[in-house]
């Protein structure tokens, strides 16, 4: 299988995303816009080309490795972390709990309402 056209397509979408963001001075990361461009293309086409599937599977399978170089950069910021570690820990703990609880309750409520409405339509 030819991975080249998959790589080209992804880089092209990223390039288009970066260009778009620079052109209209959008504060959104270029690759996120690139992702939306690729998604619209796929929705229009209706399927994922094999070569694109091959490249994206490989990239996403080893995603964790890609964070390592930036993560090692923490060594430059030990001072900041030493000063703020308690605030950081509390913020992570409380916000993660809140986000999980709020999403569970809200999505559950909306799904139940959705189900009840479609049930009453059927009946």
């Amino acid at each position: 299988m030819n991975a080249l056209s998959g790589i080209s397509l992804i880089l092209l979408c990223q390039l288009a995303g970066e260009t778009f963001v620079q052109l209209i001075d959008l504060p959104v990361p270029g690759p996120v816009v690139g992702m939306l461009i690729l998604l619209s293309g796929l929705l229009w086409r209706g399927s994922v080309p094999d070569s694109l599937r091959l490249v994206s599977d490989t990239l996403l399978r080893y995603l964790a490795l890609l964070f390592v170089p930036a993560g090692v950069g923490l060594m430059v910021h030990f001072e900041l972390i030493g000063r703020d570690w308690l605030a950081i820990s509390m913020a992570l703990l409380i916000s993660t709990e809140l986000a999980i609880a709020v999403t569970l309750l809200l999505f559950n409520l909306l799904l139940e309402r959705d189900k009840r409405r479609s049930d009453s339509h059927d009946g």
Partner: protein
């Protein structure tokens, strides 16, 4: 003999090859150690590899800039990986179309809760502005979170670590909260786990059921897009 080793070290440490290879090898070792220790989410291979590489750099007296000259080739792939997230999103298009409104409403509310409550708690406890900016996107999958932090003017490396810690926390906290709130629908469990704890939560949701896993992937992608669009617009206020 020692002179030769020093000569070789001086030569190698000046090329990008050494630290590029070191990153791959250390990461592979970290995966082995992680498995040996029972795949505990608290000891994620990325956290292990980060710790080991920092130690190696400190011991050999290598600066981060020198390290990054080699490691940048790996770092660069974060952009294409973000673009590639379009494929799992596309795979879920039928579920998205069917439940568009509930997904968007709970996605926006959930992602905003994650970001704003983190900023509020950090601010109330007197954290530095740089810390707050790096804290905001911590619930989102790393490539997007780091892109957002860069746009906000925070520290992407701090965000990378906070994202990983959030993922571990989410895996520990989600089961008791699900039990406490008596949630039975796997779609709801998965979506909340992916939204609040990105890839870590998604991996754990696949352990519940395939449906939970699919909705976790959906939560992960939606949180990423929503946060990437909303946070930079709100950032003026921080």
């Amino acid at each position: 003999m020692t002179d030769e080793i020093v000569d070789i070290w001086v030569y190698l440490s000046a090329t990008p090859l050494l630290w590029l290879a070191a990153t791959f090898i250390v990461f592979q070792g970290a995966i082995l150690v992680h498995r040996r220790l029972g795949s505990n989410p608290v000891l994620h291979p990325v956290l292990l590899a980060m710790g080991a590489l920092m130690l190696i750099l400190l011991v050999t007296g290598t600066s981060y800039d020198t390290y990054f000259e080699g490691a940048q080739f790996i770092h660069f792939m974060l952009g294409p990986a973000t673009v590639a997230l379009a494929i799992p999103l596309f795979d879920h298009r039928q579920a998205i179309r069917r439940l568009l409104l509930p997904l968007i409403v709970s996605g926006v509310v959930g992602a905003s809760t994650a970001a704003l409550s983190a900023i509020a708690v950090g601010w109330a406890m007197g954290a530095d502005r740089l810390t707050l900016l790096s804290l905001a996107p911590k619930s989102v999958t790393s490539p997007i979170a780091m892109g957002v932090t860069e746009k906000l003017g925070g520290l992407p490396s701090l965000t990378a670590a906070l994202v990983l810690i959030t993922g571990s926390l989410g895996c520990i906290l989600a089961p008791p909260i699900i039990r406490l709130l008596r949630i039975r629908d796997d779609k709801v469990k998965g979506f909340a786990m992916g939204l609040a704890a990105h890839g870590f939560g998604t991996a754990q949701a696949f352990g519940i059921s395939a449906t939970a896993g699919a909705f976790a992937g959906l939560g992960l992608s939606m949180a990423g897009v929503i946060t990437a669009v909303i946070l930079p617009l709100l950032a003026g206020g921080i």
